[in-house]
Symmetry: C2
Subunit: 135 residues, 2 copies
Amino acid sequence: MQIGEASRLTGVSAKMIRHYESIGLIPNADRRDSNYRDYGHHDIHRLGFIRRARDLGFSMDEIRDLLRLWGDTQRSSADVKALTESHIAELDQKIRLLGEMRHTLATLADACDGDHRPDCPIIEGLAGADLHGAN
Amino acid sequence: MQIGEASRLTGVSAKMIRHYESIGLIPNADRRDSNYRDYGHHDIHRLGFIRRARDLGFSMDEIRDLLRLWGDTQRSSADVKALTESHIAELDQKIRLLGEMRHTLATLADACDGDHRPDCPIIEGLAGADLHGAN
DNA sequence: TCTGCACCTTCCCATCATGGTAAGGTCAAG
DNA sequence: CTTGACCTTACCATGATGGGAAGGTGCAGA
């Protein structure tokens, strides 16, 4: 099938399919006489794998590792689990950081009357108060 | 003072200070005879404001709005609060998405023995299972 | 005075994942 | 033969940041 159908089936844009090929995440696609790329079941499966990993927040480097692990019949499930848990830890870190931001902002917003007057603890906080200390 | 000291005082890299100037987030700095940029209290204050907003996850566009609100003595605190709450909603959305990813991954990881054998529900999930449906 | 070093300047390139657009080739249906 | 959908490559953009090159400035010490 052509790249458009592969895109529709996998939810990966044609643009990104070509990009993944260019960075070696997927092998060079077969070409027809027209020079159009030609995809089969195997390619669709691989692209679906990539899309699901991407949707779970794995970086391209991690996805590269996952693809290698996927194709390695010798590897232990412990290898996959380790990579996954490392990624979970990254997610936890991001969630924690965003949560801290949210907490600080919510505290400032709570202190702000939000009326017609100009006095605003949010702006004052940004303008110089200690946002991370005792609040 | 020179850009290096301004950077040290505010925690904004010299590189970014120049960048903020180039995109109009801060006014063009005064120049000495040497053509070196020259900063004063006012500039330091503004850069500190930007750094704090950045640390709270505001985008450059939002920071631009915040700076405008900061300098506008007419604006109501409601304007600032609205912008802040919009940003909090963005943070909540990101946190929710990351949390969903984490949940799916944790479920898969829990199902994975993580031993020497190759069978791995994580890889199987990525390879085609329904990750978002009943799991 | 010369030298060295720390600092500054501008300019260009890279990241990461993705999209847009332009200029042109292919192919099937009407 | 035309139309339209599809494909090709190539280049540019995002947002926030860093890296590095090539060269100017300024001060302290030999």
